[in-house]
């Protein structure tokens, strides 16, 4: 068994791939789904369907499912004409998900999901050329989603859930003001955010065909009384940056419509395709409303003017035997950011990615999922209208994920490729 895992690991290395989605959306919500290009709207196979399509719960057995990803984005910037490439500080992120679902009755399933659908983090080396635009951003959100699904017919179900979102927002930048010691002033905005929303889905499961539609509502993340801290402000300008200042802002996490289809080409072979349309247009500006305003600290809004964006995802799964499944997938994800609005907080562009996945059964109740994702954000050269930053950004990202499933009712599946008992 050990050898087998190592072999699969090597396989993962070579296929290595996957992605986080357009804007600051994270496309890492379930290990099996990541393995298949992050498809899952029309193919419910585990409790992660609570996110992908809540209606799918009606066709999934009661189980618990937890997973974590290690995400390593890597971004470089070349200022036009500067002859010098600046690498953003490499950071690791750990988007995670926890799903659990139980059958309440023949027609009714209840589930709870805790997952991280949006987030972003960028950190630039200190003193970099864009320091007066942004030094660091860290956006985090955790969605908690209690969900019900109802099996309306033998092959058809609907589902829905409420979303309670908690998050955090951190922004750091320098201010072009120098004190007598030569220190440059800086600002930090840090606050907790929360918001609410909902998910709706419909699912049809035929013998071979699976069809799904899902709607994720917008969640408006509001920050109340976040701390606005200013350091190294010259004494002469101290009155422009009051102490103990706070801010209020909101960051819309956009709504999304998705359609998915899966087809069982063979008893052991399934292909899936998902289409997502994200209503990014709701993110038209980022503004901060300070408690204390001064001539230097106004409530100005910074335009973002995001555009709605599509993503297309494909995936395949080969169930080698009852114990083992292999997956592969790919996706294309359109950027919501217009030319002239790309900035260091999210140096985004259209992305392509490839993914691979593996599942192995450890016992009647336990199974393990692995995924890998590689994505490449197309390099993008342009001048930001608001800040004048003129150059080329390029990003690559790798994610590796690990998940565990626990079935509440063990199955009596037979091991097909290995007669060894667990």
């Amino acid at each position: 068994m050990k050898q087998k895992y190592i072999l699969s690991m090597l396989l993962l290395c070579c296929l290595g791939t996957t992605a986080w989605a357009g804007g600051f959306k994270i496309g890492l919500q379930g290990q099996k789904q990541i393995g298949m290009g992050h498809t899952g709207i029309g193919f419910a196979q585990d409790a992660a369907t609570i996110y992908f399509n809540p209606a799918g719960m009606s066709f999934v057995k009661s189980q618990l499912n937890g997973s974590v990803n290690l995400l390593f984005p890597s971004t470089s910037f070349l200022q036009k004409g500067s002859g010098q490439v600046i690498n953003a500080v490499n950071q690791a992120f750990t988007p995670f998900s926890l799903y659990g679902q139980v059958k309440l009755s023949k027609h009714l399933n209840f589930g709870l999901g805790v997952y991280t659908p949006f987030g972003s983090g960028m950190m630039y080396p200190s003193g970099w050329t864009g320091r007066y635009i942004l030094n660091r951003i860290d956006l985090q959100s955790v969605y908690i989603q209690p969900t019900l699904s109802i099996r309306l017919a033998e092959r058809f179900s609907i589902g829905g859930g409420f979303v309670f979102s908690q998050g955090n927002m951190l922004l750091q930048k320098d201010i072009p003001l120098q004190n007598a010691n030569g220190q440059v002033a800086n600002a930090e905005l840090n606050g907790k955010a929360n918001g609410i929303g909902y998910n709706l889905g419909a699912y049809y499961k035929g013998c071979r065909l699976g069809l799904g539609a899902v709607y994720h509502s917008k969640v408006n993340m509001k920050v109340h009384n976040g701390l606005a801290t200013f350091n190294n402000i010259p004494q002469a300008a101290a009155s422009s940056f009051p102490l103990d200042n706070t801010f209020t802002t909101s960051l819309p996490l956009p709504s999304e419509l998705g359609f998915g289809l899966s087809y069982k080409l063979h008893e052991k072979f399934v292909v899936a395709i998902d289409y997502n349309y994200t209503f990014w247009k709701s993110f038209d500006s980022l503004g901060f409303d300070y408690k204390y305003n001064t001539a230097s600290l106004t409530d100005a809004k910074s335009p973002r003017l995001y555009e709605n964006a599509s993503a297309i995802r494909i995936g395949a799964q080969w169930r080698v035997c009852d114990d083992i499944a292999l997956r592969a997938g790919a996706f294309y994800d359109q950027t919501p950011i217009k030319d002239g609005y790309v900035n260091p907080e999210l140096p985004d562009n259209n992305k392509t990615g490839i993914t691979a996945g593996f599942s192995g059964r450890l016992s009647n109740r336990f199974s393990v999922d692995l995924s890998a994702l590689y994505e490449s954000v197309k390099e993008r050269a342009q001048t930001n209208i608001e800040t004048g930053l003129d150059g080329t950004f390029k990003t690559k990202a790798l994610s590796v994920g690990f998940g565990l499933n626990y079935k509440l009712h063990g199955c009596s599946c037979k091991s097909c490729c290995n007669k060894k008992k667990y």
Partner: protein, 448 residues
Amino acid sequence: MNILKLTTYIGLGAYLFSSCSPNLKADTASSGDADFSRYVAIGNSLTSGYADGALSLYGQENSFPKMLAEKFAEAGGGEFKIPYMDAGNGNDGQGHPKRVLGYVIPCNSSSPTIGPKLANGTATPLNNVAANGPYNLVGVPGARSYDAILSIYSSSFGNPFLNRFCKTPGVSTMLSEALRSNPTFYTMWLGNNDALLYATGGAVAPTGFLSPSLTDTTTFGLAMRLMIDSLSKTGAKGAIANIPDVTSVPYFTTIPWNAVVLTQGKADTLNAIFAGANLTNITWNAGPNGLLIVDSSEGAINGFMRHATAEDLILITTPGDSLTCGQWGVNPYKALRDQYVLDKNEKIEIQERIAQYNDIIKTIANAYNLAHVDMNSYIKSFVPGIIYNGISMNAKYITGGAFSLDGIHPNPRGYALIANEFIKSINNKFKATISLVDVSQYNGIVFP
């Protein structure tokens, strides 16, 4: 357990990936058709790094020719010697230190406000560094076009900034100093003072040979052409910058022409006084009024008093306390004198002359195949304002962030922007790929 081992492999793979960054490629610096091995910068205060009303080590270290030389070094540029001053407050040539921002107590208040003042302590002596010459940076504050070819200019009663580093005082010229380095490439930004010295003095009619005047275009053309001809003789290539319009810099635009703000009652009182003195062309209204100025331009009656209009420029040298508390510009006996005002006609005279100078510079640039740096247009763009990587800058005094406290010379950040204009022109002309200066690394105005 084997899962542990797996996780280790995963972690290892991820680490290996994260250590390699996206492969963006920067252009390598190349000199194109130019040869930067011996670069010489010739010019006036703007080339020397003069700022905040003085030449200081800090200013020299943030001069645009030094920035250029650092970038040229990536494409074959050699050593660039600067006649450094000793560290300190600098020297304006008359023994005054540079200006700094500090707390000053205005006449109408007891609480200090932020404003420019002379730095505490003495000026830095103008040390003689001739023994270590020749220098690549031949920037001489105050130099006009023809000063650059006069040997008397380097004598002890000529220009102290040239005197301190030239080979043979009284014999050397700025041009001969530049040629000593046998340049393969040069930048020349000269001619500003041919109009500026006259303008900064309020365009007072010259009273003698030494008083500032507008250099006539024939002299200007001859001097500039002789400079470029001599510098180019050995096959050196170069860049020449033109002259910014005076109306673009804070020295001329900081004090508003309509600084007299009155209530109706005050206006009535003033009107009664002026009517009593038979100065009927002057009337005052509630709200902002034009300062009372002496119009000295040709054709005007000597001592003719009128309100300033939006067409007139009030110079930054006008004592602020006298405006605020001393009735300057209001009292009929205290109309702003010629030296504090560029009235409309004077302004137009200077602007037209600068346009003629710039035509000459353009012609020379074409004739000698030089990179032509249009500094006039560039500095004009500061009036609406520019933005560089999130730093907003404009032509406003102090708050604009690009000019130093003297209101004419840039601060280090402003000089870095100027260096980039030179680089863009040079790259364009000589098919070079010299990399641009990172403006964000340079200081703006330092606040107390």
